[in-house]
Amino acid sequence: MPSATVLYFAGLRERVGCASEEVELPARATPAAILAALSDRHPACGEAFACCRIAVDCDFIVGEVDIRDGAEVAVIHPVSGG
């Protein structure tokens, strides 16, 4: 399985306890599958992950996506800019 760099930000970063971590993910996955894998690593954050979106290499993912080795996978919890 490819190893991706998973990023967390702001309140979610504080809740997970790190800004980034290396995680082995399936070579092809949906956002739901990625979030399920991350919930397994961080069981206390499962509820927080439920409302998150996934971006791979800076693009929001809506369906299945290829995860290459070294991909940047960002967990985007509800934003509050503007």
Binding site: L7, F9, A10, G11, C58, F60, V79
Partner: protein, 148 residues
């Protein structure tokens, strides 16, 4: 050659800046064919849900934020006016009430498209731009906003 080409391609400027965004009128983005500039400034308020706010910190996933802004401007132009010009900036880091965290300028031939595009951009930015706000309250506590 269309008049648009004669006057140069419309400006599409998207940037994430350190600190508050600089203030300007936006008149500079208008092409000679543009009769209207609609603008929006998002200003840090001194209250939030009844609590006195001393300051804010915006955290940003910068490479994605810049890419998203470019995409949102292109999407907006496609929907409202392919010939529109736009300049969007979002600030990051510490800010105090009265400072501007977001500026949007849209120039178009006519005012309806300029207004509609400007307003569409704000709504999309509020939904998609990977930026998060930490509110620092006057009582010394602080909290990350839960979406907006």
């Amino acid at each position: 050659m269309t008049s648009l080409e004669a006057a140069g391609a419309p400006l599409r400027d998207a940037r994430i800046v350190a600190g508050p965004v600089p203030g300007d009128s936006g008149a500079g983005i208008a092409l000679a064919s543009h009769g209207a500039v609609a603008s929006f400034l998002g200003i840090v308020r001194d209250h939030s849900k009844g609590r006195a706010v001393a300051g804010l910190r915006y955290e940003c996933y910068r490479p994605m934020a810049e890419k998203v802004l470019v995409q949102l401007i292109a999407e907006t132009a496609g929907r409202f006016d392919p010939g529109m010009a736009a300049a969007v900036a979002h600030g990051t880091g510490e800010m105090v009430p009265g400072q501007a965290a977001l500026s949007i300028h849209v120039a178009s031939a006519h005012r309806a498209a300029a207004f509609d595009a400007c307003r569409h951009l704000i709504e999309r930015i509020k939904h998609d731009l990977p930026v998060w706000k930490l509110e620092r309250y006057a009582d010394g506590t602080q909290a990350w906003l839960k979406g907006s």
